[in-house]
Amino acid sequence: MHHQFKSPEGPIEVTVARDGDAWRLGDIEATPMTDGRLRMVGPDGSVNFAHMAKVGDVWWVHHQGHTFRFERIEPGATDADDGGGLTAPMPGKVLQVLVEVGQSVAAGTTLMVLEAMKMEHRIVAASDGIVTAVHFNADDQVEQGVALLSLEDS
C-alpha cells in the first residue's frame, strides 16, 4: 500500500508490500503483533521492534531508541503553503506586537513577543521584508502553528 508522510525536506512516499501476515519494504520484513508493536526483521536476520501510536493524522514511532513523528498526507490532499507566514511555535499568549502592517523590517528584528508556560518567546524576522499582515493583538491567545504575521521579502 502507498502512503505519503510530511517531512521538513518534502513529502516522503512509502509503498509497503503485503506478504501473508508480514509486510515488506526492501530487505526489511515487518509483522504486526497482538499488542500493536511491529516485529521487524532486517536483512541480516536481526530482530527489532517498533512501537507505534496514531494521534490524529500523526503516526508516532519509536524504533531503536529514536522517536519519530510522521504526519500523514491524506491521499489527494495538496500541500499546505504558509505563504511566508510566521507561525506560533507553541500555544500561548501574545505579549507584545512590535511592528505594524506596511513596516519594513530588517532580518533579526523582533516582530512579536509571546508568553507560554511563564517564559517569553520572541518571533524574529528571518529575512529583510515588509510586514503585510498582523493577525493578533497583545493579550490574544494563540494556538500552536497558527500564522501570527505575514512578511513579504523586500
Binding site: 500500500m1 502512503h3 508522510f5 516522503i12 512509502v14 509503498t15 509497503v16 503485503r18 509486510w23 519494504l25 526492501g26 526489511i28 515487518a30 504486526p32 500493536g36 511491529l38 521487524m40 527489532n48 517498533a50 512501537h51 507505534m52 501510536a53 496514531k54 494521534v55 503516526w59 508516532w60 514511532v61 519509536h62 524504533h63 531503536q64 531508541g65 529514536h66 522517536t67 519519530f68 513523528r69 510522521f70 500523514r72 511555535p89 507553541m90 500555544p91 500561548g92 508568553e115 507560554a116 508556560m117 511563564k118 517564559m119 517569553e120 518567546h121 500552536q144
Partner: protein, 501 residues
C-alpha cells in the same frame, strides 16, 4: 506531633511527598485544580479537595483557600513541595499562625534567603564567599534601568541579570555586550514582574567556565545541622537544569569539606530548619561563590538520596514533627545521575510541547528510579511546567551510572508528545559529559546553533515503514471506550443484595 499532611503542590513532587507520608503512616490531603482532576497525585492521597478558581493564582497559589482546606480537613501540617508557595515567607507565616506545622524553615529564614540581596549580605556576614555584583533596589523602571547601566560599568561583561525574587531561570538574562543591555534589562524586569510581582533585579559577573555545585543541608530542632555532600547541576538549557549528578566528578574530599562547612554556616546563619540547598558556582580555580539558598526540597534531591542513603522527604517530615533527624554520619556510595524528561522540542530551541501520552513506558530494572506524576493516557497541557518525569540511576561508579542512564533512556518510550529523551541520550555520549568536565555553558558550547538529532537513515527508513504498515494494517491504538452509558432516563434506584443459599 504531625498526623495529617496537606500537600500544597501537584505532579511528581506531590506524588513523592504523598508516598513518603504514606510510608510514614501519616494521613494525607491533596488539593487540586479542576484541570488536574485526572492527575495521578490525587490517587495517592487519602483525601483530595478540589480548589475553586481557574488560574494558578486562584488555585495552587491561593493561600487563604489552601489554609481553609487545611482547617476543614484537620490537616496539622502543610508540605509545600517546590515552586508554588514553597518559598513564600508570608504563607509560611500564615500557616504557622494558624497553628499548622510548616514543613520547612521559619518565615524569617525564607525571607532572608528569598531576597537575593539580603541573602548576599547575610552570607557575607557569615563568611561565605559571594559573587562580585551589585544589587539594584530601584522599583521604578527608568531609575532601575539607569542604575543597571551604571552598575554594568563596575561589574563588567559578561554579566548576568537576575530577578531578585527569582528562580527557575525566569527573569534571567545573560548580557555579553553593552548594546544588548537595555533590551535584556527590560525583558528581565518584565518577566520578573509577571512571575513574582517584583521587578527588582541584580547584576552580577558571569563566571564563565564555572560549575554549578550545590550542597544539600539538613537541620533539626535538636541542634544538629549537617551537609549531605554535593550535587553538580552544571548542564542547563535556558538556565534550567536538565542533567544532575552526585557526587561532582571533579570533587575532592577537601573541597567537599570546605563547601559543606560553608553550606552549614549559611544554614546556621539563618537558624535553618529542615531540608535546604546552598547553591555555589565553582570556578575553574577551585574558588567557590555563594549563589543562593533554596529553602525547600529540590527537584534534583533524588541523586543525593541514592548516594547517601538518606530519605530527604522522610527526614523533612521527621524534623517538622520535632523529632531528631534519623541519619547518621555522611556515608556516600557510588554515583547517581538524574535527567529531567521534558515535553519539549529539543531540536527547536527546547520549546515546550503538548499532546497526549499515547504510550508512556518507562525503563525498569536495577538501579533505575522514576519520579513522575503522569502515566500513559494522560494529556500534557500548557497549564503547568512541561517536566514529565525525573529519571534517576545509581551505579557503583560514574562510568557505570552513565552506561545505565544510556540503557534506561534507550528503553524509555514516549509517543504522542515530543520529548527531550533523544537529546538527553545524545548528551550522555558527549566527551565533556563522559569526562565530567561540564560547566554551565556546556549545552550552549556543544550546540551553539541548537541541537538536532543524528538519526541513521536506515533507522528512519524502518520507522517510516512502521508508520506505513501501521496505517495499512489499521494498527490504531484505540483509547479507552468511555461511552457515557446507555440511553434512557436516569434511574433513581440503587441496591446491593447478597443472596446466600
Amino acid at each position: 506531633m504531625v498526623s495529617k499532611v496537606l500537600v500544597a503542590n501537584r505532579g511528581e513532587i506531590a506524588c513523592r511527598i504523598l508516598r513518603a507520608c504514606h510510608e510514614a503512616g501519616l494521613a494525607t490531603v491533596a488539593i487540586y485544580a479542576q484541570n488536574d482532576a485526572d492527575s495521578m497525585f490525587i490517587e495517592l492521597a487519602d483525601e483530595a479537595v478540589l480548589l475553586t478558581g481557574d488560574t494558578i493564582g486562584e488555585t495552587y497559589l491561593d493561600q487563604q483557600q489552601i489554609l481553609s482546606i487545611a482547617n476543614r480537613t484537620g490537616a496539622d501540617a502543610i508540605h509545600p513541595g517546590f515552586g508554588f508557595l514553597s518559598e513564600r515567607a508570608d504563607f509560611a507565616r500564615a500557616v504557622t499562625q494558624a497553628k499548622i506545622q510548616w514543613v520547612g524553615p521559619s518565615p524569617e529564614a525564607i525571607e532572608k534567603m528569598g531576597d537575593k540581596m539580603t541573602a548576599r549580605i547575610t552570607m557575607r556576614a557569615a563568611g561565605v564567599p559571594v559573587i562580585p555584583g551589585e544589587e539594584i533596589e530601584h522599583e521604578d523602571e527608568t531609575d532601575a534601568l539607569e542604575a543597571i547601566e551604571s552598575a554594568s560599568h563596575r561589574v563588567g561583561y559578561p554579566m548576568l541579570l537576575k530577578a531578585s525574587s527569582g528562580g527557575g531561570g525566569k527573569g534571567m538574562r545573560a548580557v555579553h555586550s553593552p548594546d544588548q543591555l537595555m533590551e535584556a534589562a527590560m525583558g528581565a524586569r518584565r518577566e520578573a514582574i509577571a512571575a513574582f510581582g517584583d521587578g527588582r533585579v541584580y547584576v552580577e559577573r558571569l563566571l564563565t567556565g564555572s560549575k554549578h555545585v550545590e550542597i544539600q543541608v539538613l537541620a533539626d530542632r535538636h541542634g544538629r545541622t549537617i551537609h549531605l555532600g554535593e550535587r553538580e547541576c552544571s548542564v542547563q538549557r535556558r538556565h534550567q537544569k536538565v542533567f544532575e549528578e552526585a557526587p561532582c566528578a571533579t570533587m575532592t574530599p577537601e573541597l567537599r569539606e570546605a563547601m559543606g562547612q560553608a553550606a552549614v554556616a549559611a544554614a546556621e546563619a539563618v537558624d535553618y530548619e529542615g531540608a535546604g540547598t546552598v547553591e555555589f558556582l565553582l570556578a575553574p580555580s577551585g574558588e567557590f561563590f555563594f549563589l543562593e539558598m533554596n529553602t525547600r526540597i529540590q527537584v534534583e534531591h533524588p541523586v543525593t538520596e541514592l548516594v547517601t542513603g538518606v530519605d530527604l522527604v522522610r527526614e523533612q517530615l521527621r524534623i517538622a514533627a520535632g523529632e531528631p533527624m534519623s541519619c547518621g554520619p555522611l556515608m556516600m556510595r557510588g554515583h547517581a545521575i538524574e535527567v529531567r524528561l521534558y515535553a519539549e522540542d529539543a531540536a527547536n530551541n527546547f520549546l515546550p510541547a503538548i499532546g497526549p501520552l499515547a504510550i508512556f513506558r518507562p525503563p525498569e530494572g536495577p538501579g533505575v528510579r522514576l519520579d513522575t506524576g503522569v502515566r500513559e493516557g494522560d494529556e500534557v497541557t500548557p497549564n503547568y511546567d512541561p517536566m514529565l518525569a525525573k529519571l534517576i540511576v545509581w551505579a557503583p561508579s560514574r562510568d557505570e551510572a552513565l552506561q545505565r542512564m544510556r540503557r534506561a533512556l534507550d528503553e524509555f518510550i514516549v509517543l504522542g508528545t515530543t520529548t527531550n529523551i533523544r537529546f538527553l541520550r545524545e548528551l550522555c555520549d558527549e566527551a565533556e559529559v563522559i569526562s565530567g568536565q561540564t560547566d554551565t555553558t556546556t549545552i550552549d558550547r556543544l550546540w551553539p546553533h541548537g541541537w538536532s538529532p543524528s538519526v541513521p537513515r536506515s533507522i528512519e527508513d524502518a520507522a517510516l515503514m512502521a508508520a506505513a504498515v501501521g496505517e495499512s494494517a489499521g494498527l490504531h491504538r484505540t483509547q479507552q471506550q468511555a461511552s457515557k452509558g446507555p440511553e434512557g432516563p436516569a434511574s433513581p434506584f440503587s441496591t446491593l443484595n447478597r443472596r446466600f443459599p
